[in-house]
Amino acid sequence: MTEKINCKEAADRLQDYLRQELTPELEEEMKAHIERCRPCFESAQFERNFLIMLETRAARECCPDKLRQRVLELLRAEARRG
């Protein structure tokens, strides 16, 4: 199978690929390239790890219980007011 895209095109598509925003056809081309091209595979892996790190840390930040409670009270008061 001949490569449909080169490294430059793969780099341009990387962000959309990682966010799963490519069309199925473009995604297949990207996957095919990454499987064969080690530098592009590694750079994709680096970006992926960066995104996983961001998500993991962000998930540790939650709405404080006292705020949740205040919001609930606020909404109940508002509901009674009608």
């Binding site: 962000q15 959309d16 966010r19 925003e21 530098p39 590694e42 750079s43 892996q45 680096f46 970006e47 790890n49 960066f50 995104l51 790190m53 961001l54 998500e55 840390r57 962000a58 540790r60 930040e61 939650c62 709405c63 404080p64 705020l67 949740r68 205040r70 919001v71 609930l72 606020l74 909404l75 508002e78 509901a79």
Partner: protein, 187 residues
């Protein structure tokens, strides 16, 4: 106490699960936990009052975040000193991967950086970039949802996200070098 009405029940079911996300985005927009709490309360009250405009089963998170963002812009942003405008589209920071591909191609240095430094670096991003990065990479919204929420074309969302990631990686890399988590790149 009387049973909550049907409207209250659907609001509870559809809106309350997004409190964590609302709080996180509020924190990143305001950069201050007290203001973030006020912003979340104001947002939830506004959302409750206009709940009849929400179509059940559609994107509740996006709807709530739109209200949060509008509330922030109208009532909160002016409390904060806006940074001097610069030509952000011209910013083209280099890819950090190129600096670490030999020593740390998997970017393990990121995991050594403490949570506070990561949030500090996010908070230091220019507001327009920070907003897109938070909605995309932290809250997992799609380009189209972000575009609708903040009222810009999808292309703008993509370019801001690209630059936001580069800027954030550059800042985190500089911190990692400073802390000795990674060797500086040989020039």
């Amino acid at each position: 106490m009387a049973e909550p009405s049907a409207a209250v029940r659907t609001f509870d079911q559809e809106a309350l699960p997004h409190l964590d996300a609302l709080y996180r985005v509020a924190l990143r927009l305001t950069g201050d936990s007290t203001q973030a709490e006020d912003l979340v309360q104001d947002t939830m009250l506004k959302a409750y009052r206009s709940w009849h405009q929400y179509r059940p089963g559609t994107n509740a998170k996006g709807w709530l975040l739109t209200i949060l963002r509008n509330t922030f812009i109208n009532d909160y942003r002016r409390r904060k000193l806006e940074p001097v405008a610069m030509d952000l589209e011209a910013v083209e920071p280099h890819a950090i991967y190129r600096a670490v591909e030999v020593d740390d191609p998997e970017g393990t240095f990121f995991s050594k950086i403490v949570d506070e430094k990561v949030t500090e670096a996010i908070d230091a991003l220019p507001p327009d970039f920070r907003e897109v990065l938070v909605l995309s990479d932290i809250e997992g919204m799609r380009y189209a949802e972000i575009a609708e929420t903040i009222g810009v074309p999808v292309g703008t969302v993509k370019s801001r996200l690209f630059r936001a990631r580069r800027l954030l990686q550059t800042a985190l890399y500089a911190h990692a070098v400073e802390m000795g988590y990674i060797k500086p790149r040989e020039r």
